[in-house]
Every structure is written in C-alpha cells, then in structure tokens.
C-alpha cells in the first residue's frame, strides 16, 4: 500500500499470478468490461506480437470517498511464461493481495503447482508478509476434462485460501474473485494500518464503491467488446 497523506491518497496493489495461459489477462480484460467506466481507467497491456504478456497488464480502479480521500486500486497481471521469472518478481513487489489464477484442466495440475510454489518463493524473495491475502480462482470451468466441482470443494474446505470457479472469457466468477480478494485485503490492511479509521470508510462501502454499476457476465463478453 502506498499512502500519501498530504494528497489524501491511498494506492493498493493487487496481482493476478498463475501459470502461462491460465487466463490472467482474460480476467483483467473481463473486469475492464464489467466494471463501471467511471471508476475504471484504461487497461494497459504490454504484450508481444503473439498476444503473450511481456511485462504485465494493469487496470486502475479509483474513486474518491465522501471526505475527499482518493482510493486507487491497481490490478496487475504477471507474465506467465517461464522466461519472465524476474519480471514476475518485480511486479509482485509491494503487492497487497494476490489472485492465483489456476487452470482447471487436469493436465495443467503440474503447472498450477509449480507456479503456486514459485509464488511462495517470490513472496519470500520480495520479503512480503506470508499472511498476505491470497485467493485461488479455478478458471476455464467450461472446458472438458477439468477438475470436478467436488474436487474444488475439497480444496476449498482444506485450504485456508478462498476458492472461486470462473469462466473468465464470459466474465463468470471474475467479479466474485476480485470482490473476495479486496474484502480480505481491506481487512488485512485495516488490521495492520487501521485503514478504516484513516479514510473513514467501511469495508462494505469500499466494496460497494468499487463494484457499483458493474454489469453482469455474458456469453461473448470479450469476443464483442
């Protein structure tokens, strides 16, 4: 979190982390389409000619509280390809919360696991708090040969992270994932820095302001923007 007292500004950083092609950028694109244009800035994509993320994508979401405090949330994706390990670490620097985007397809279990371990390693390397809020999204629920709902329920029960299912390309589960994460981030920062007292806004109001006016997921959300 970055806090600028004189300008009455708070900036939060949320990072979408996960294996290559799990749908991190798709999540951000869907979010860009679903969120209200008033509070959502342009989606910046730094990608290669073949649409693979080179450095990151970033979507800023911002609003002003009634007492004039500006709250900005910057949502980043990391590049998934193996060769960009150092960029992933750079993007993770100073994160306040992480959405781990896993691929539900069975054959991707190993890649999910490897990136989960690399996330933990990068958190240590960046000296980030090990209690930093993390939620897990199982994306591509519409694909064949995916882990069953029962298996995901099992993960939800056993792990300490919140778990969401999603079809990011249609926007399904995207808002829920971010809402779940931001809710935890707010609680975490309030515990650590008494953020509610500082900006005079409750967690419920914070979430309401971020998601007010958001539209519903739909088929072809990203195909016909």
């Amino acid at each position: 979190m970055q806090l600028n007292v004189s300008q009455r500004e708070i900036a939060l950083k949320v990072v979408f982390y996960g294996p290559p092609l799990s749908g991190k950028t798709t999540n951000l694109q869907a979010l860009h389409h679903l969120l209200n244009g008033q509070s959502c800035g342009r989606l910046m994509t730094l990608d290669t000619a073949d649409d693979r993320t080179l450095f990151f994508d970033v979507l800023p979401v911002f609003f002003k509280t009634s007492n004039g405090f500006k709250i900005k949330i910057k949502l980043y994706t990391v590049p998934g390809q193996i060769m960009h390990a150092s960029t992933r670490r750079l993007v993770l620097e100073g994160a306040d919360g992480i959405a781990f985007i896993a691929d539900s397809q069975r054959e991707e279990a190993k890649a999910n696991n490897e990136f989960w371990l690399s996330l933990k390693e990068n958190l240590r390397a960046n000296k980030l708090d090990e209690n930093i809020p993390i939620v897990i999204q199982f994306n591509k629920r519409d694909m064949p040969n995916v882990r069953s709902d029962e298996e995901i329920e099992e993960v939800r029960k056993k792990g300490k992270e919140l778990v969401y299912g999603a079809v990011a390309i249609r926007g399904e589960g995207v808002l829920e994932t971010v809402e779940g994460l931001l809710s935890q981030v707010w609680e975490y920062l309030d515990k650590k820095h008494h953020i509610e007292q500082m900006v005079k806004i409750t967690r419920e109001d914070f979430l309401r302001r971020v998601f007010e006016g958001a539209s519903k997921p739909r088929e072809g959300l990203l195909a016909n923007p």
């Binding site: 800023p60 900005k72 150092s86």
Partner: protein, 478 residues
C-alpha cells in the same frame, strides 16, 4: 506500506520501480510534438490553448485573435487587476470533475478549463480561450464602470474582429481535444512504462544470473578441489601398489632364473605367467600414476640432450617381440645427422612406444607397421590443432614422428576422442583388444608438455597414422 507527505508517492523510495512512481506530465509527452499538435488545433478552431502541469508550469501557449482586445483590457488599471485575477484562477482552480469547466471573463469572453488525468491522478490542465461566444455582439456595458476612459467603440471594434464560436461547437471541440490529449498521454505513459520495465527486468535478470554464476563458481571450486584430492589419492595409492608389485616381479624373476633352485617346466610356466601379468599390472599402475600426476599438475619434464632416432629405435626394440609373434613387417626411416634435442627422454620414449604398441596391437597378422622420423618445415595438418605462424618462420619447423599401420582403422567421429582418458573405440564388454584407454591420453599430455602436438588420421579397414610433432625450437644448435 510506503508513506509520503510530498507531491510524489515514492518519496521514500527514490530508486523504486516505475510501477510505484507517479509520472509528471512532461515525462509523458514529447514537448515539441505536443506543442505542434495543439498549435494545429488552435489554428484550426481559432482559439487559444494553454497547457499547465500539476505544479502550474506552462508547457504550451498559443493565442488566437484576442490579443488586441485583451491588450485593451490590460491597458486600464482596474480591468488589468481583474484580468490578472481571472488568469490566476483559471490556472489554479480546483478541477473536481473530468469534464471541462466554463469560466466567464468580465470582458465578455469565456474560457473552458479541462483537466488532464492519468489513472485518476491529476497531471495538469488545458485552458481553452479566451474565445468570443456567439451571443457576445458588443463589449459589456459594465466595462465603462470599471475603466471610464476606455472607449466603447474601440472595444466593440476590437471585439468583432474575434471570430465568434457557438457554445455547443466549443464544447464539442474541447471534448475532442481532451480525448486526443488523453490518448497521447496514455500512449506516452505506456511507452515510458515499457521502456523502464525493459531496463528493470533486464537489471533483475542480470542480478539473477550473477547470483547463479556465483553459486556455480563456488560449486566449480569445490569440484576442482575434490578432483585434486582424488588425483592425489590415486597417485598415493598407485605409488603404494607399485612397491610390493616390484618385489613380486623381482622375486618371480629370481625364481625363473633358478636362483632359488631349479624349477620344473610346469613351475617355470606358472612363474612366467605371474611375472608377465605382474608386468602388465605394473604398466597399468604406472599409467594411472602418470595420469594422476598430469591431472594434479605435479608432473614435470626432465629435459636432457636427446637423439630422437636413438629413442625411436629403442621403442622399436620394445615392440619387436609382439610384432614378431604376429608376423608383422616393421619398417623405419630416420633422418641423417643425429641432431640433438632438449627433451624428456623417458617420456618421449614411452610416447613413441605407446604409439608403436597400439599399431602392433591393432594390425592383423602379416600387416605392416612403419615408423618415420623426419624434419618438417611448413603448415601441420589441421588435425594437429597447430596453426601456421606467418610471422615467426621458426615456429613452423617441427620434428615429426609418425607411426603408420595397416590395422582396422578408427571411425572419423572417434579420432579426437581416442586421446581422452579411459576412451575405447570399442567399449563393449566383449571387445577383442585389451587396454585401459589411458595410453594416448598420457602421450598427448607428454607431447603437449613439450610444446608439441599429437594427432591421428585414419581410414577404416586400411589403417591409421599417429603423428607426434615436436617443435624444432627444442633442437640444440651446435
């Protein structure tokens, strides 16, 4: 958490990533191009444009048609004061909404002030105007009250020279310009972030590689040390094995010679076998000892004046019994003159014997083994790894010792490898020819220690030629 109280969010992290920095307007635009863009806008619509950054610094200033009318206002004290106040307000008023704000001037002219935002952060403002609204046909009557000596007619005359613009038209034009500038700023920001991220990620990758290099280098040092210890160990063990083995061979020899009384024929055969196998073992141990000395860097040349022809002849004598057993034809050529060279006689002798021994071993019955010693002046074949020296002619003079056989030959892809320790062309467990695979590795080290080279050429089923080149600089000039 990063906390700051100044303008910039990264005050406490001056070296931080571009991701945590809040850019300034001037960082995101090429100022000359940005001015050109707004100049063409100003000329097209006939309105002045000014751009101020967040700190109020003016980056762009184009005036249009209003200069004389505004000059008249500035010529009178009260209107000048009001004008200055209004300009100050236009430059610094709070802009809460992303939509442009309208400002009315006492002169009847108007302004629009549009904010420049990036990700919701205020970067600066664009001031459009002053422009003359379409409804303003005459200079306002209250000007007379503010500046009694101002001539109304003159004010009207100057006013009508300014092209009037409809409010709706100005709103559309301003909106368009705001969008264009927004796009320019976003593109500039994207370019800035991309270029900074290139630098940051390469720097991070470089640090990662440096760290890995350090780890590898430490592992390498450890391995080298272990390799040195291993070579020392082998050298010690080989030395310790050799001492009792020499006694075994010595006593066998004495038994064979009858020094301990006569032996029966069968006993003689057994003792002879003990002696023969003992000598093979001694040879093997000597090879291992040599190689371990080479690897641990403890072997030294003992150079003395040597006549190569004599050394080569001695080597021929060494292999003569085996050659006779296989009924081989041994041929030799030596140079005339008995030139002396400063060389390690024992090592050279063993090298030549080794090449001859291999030739005898791999040549079938009735074949030929030819030893040739000659002086050579020129470029050695590329297999030798020795390049031609165009500048020092002496460096191209060699003493060449070659051993040609009519044996089974060596495949091309293995010609280099035969000089590596423990390498066998036929490494199968059922191989026909014995050997440890150490001989040629030792020869190469011995020859290279003299500044020479050793190489092989071969043709399958026809035979091979192994050559040793010793630099002529070793020659002793009489």
């Amino acid at each position: 958490m990063t906390t700051s109280t100044g303008d910039n969010m990264f005050t406490l992290q001056p070296g931080g990533s571009v991701l945590s920095r809040k850019p300034k307007l001037a960082d995101l635009i090429d100022q000359a191009s940005f001015r050109d863009l707004l100049k063409s806008f100003s000329e097209l619509y006939g309105i002045g444009v000014k751009v101020f950054d967040q700190g109020g610094q003016k980056l762009v200033d184009f005036r249009a048609q209003t200069t004389e009318y505004c000059g008249l206002m500035f010529a009178h004290y009260e209107t000048k004061v009001r004008c200055t106040k209004l300009v100050g307000e236009v430059k610094s008023c709070e802009l809460d909404s992303p939509s442009p704000e309208a400002k009315q001037c006492f002169s009847g002219l108007r302004y629009r002030v549009g904010p420049i935002y990036l990700e919701g952060d205020f970067l600066g403002r664009i001031v459009y105007g002053p422009f003359r609204p379409e409804t303003l046909l005459r200079a306002p009557g209250e000007l007379q009250g503010l500046a009694p000596d101002m001539k109304q007619q003159q004010a009207n005359d100057l006013l009508v020279q300014i092209r009037p613009i409809a409010e709706r038209a100005i709103d559309a034009v301003v909106l368009h310009c705001q969008k264009v500038v927004d796009t320019v700023i976003f593109s500039g920001y994207k370019a800035l972030v991309a270029s900074q991220m290139h630098i940051e990620s390469i720097t991070a990758a470089y640090s990662d590689l440096e760290e890995r290099n350090r780890t590898l280098s430490q592992a390498n040092d450890k391995l080298r040390e272990m390799d040195r210890l291993k070579s020392n160990f082998i050298a010690t063990v080989s030395h310790e094995l050799r001492t009792p083995l020499t006694s075994v061979i010595g006593y066998s020899e004495m038994l064979l010679e009858g020094l301990a009384g006569p032996l029966q024929n069968e006993q003689k055969d057994y003792v002879a076998t003990i002696m023969e196998k003992g000598e093979s073992l001694l040879q093997l141990i000597t090879s291992i000892l040599d190689l371990s000395k080479i690897e641990s860097g403890t072997f030294k040349l003992a150079r003395n004046p040597v006549d190569i022809s004599l050394v080569a002849k001695a080597s021929l004598t060494d292999v003569l019994p085996q050659a006779r057993k296989k009924n081989l034809n041994l041929v030799s050529h030596f140079p005339e003159g008995g030139q002396l060279f400063l060389l390690d006689e024992e090592k050279l002798h063993r090298s030549i014997t080794n090449l001859l021994g291999n030739a005898v071993k791999f040549t079938p019955e009735g074949g030929t083994v030819e030893l040739k010693v000659q002086h050579f002046d020129g470029s050695l074949p590329k297999e030798s790894g020795k390049g031609f020296d165009p500048f020092v002619p002496e460096n191209n003079k060699w003493l060449l010792i070659s051993v040609r056989d009519t044996g089974i030959g060596i495949p091309d892809d293995k010609l280099q490898k035969v000089f590596e320790p423990f390498f066998q062309v036929d490494s199968s467990s059922t191989r026909e020819y014995g050997g440890t695979g150490l001989g040629l590795a030792i020869v190469r080290n011995f020859v290279e220690a003299h500044g020479g080279a050793v190489w092989a050429t071969s043709e399958l089923q026809k035979g091979s030629v192994f050559s040793i080149a010793v630099p002529f600089s070793c020659a002793i000039t009489k």
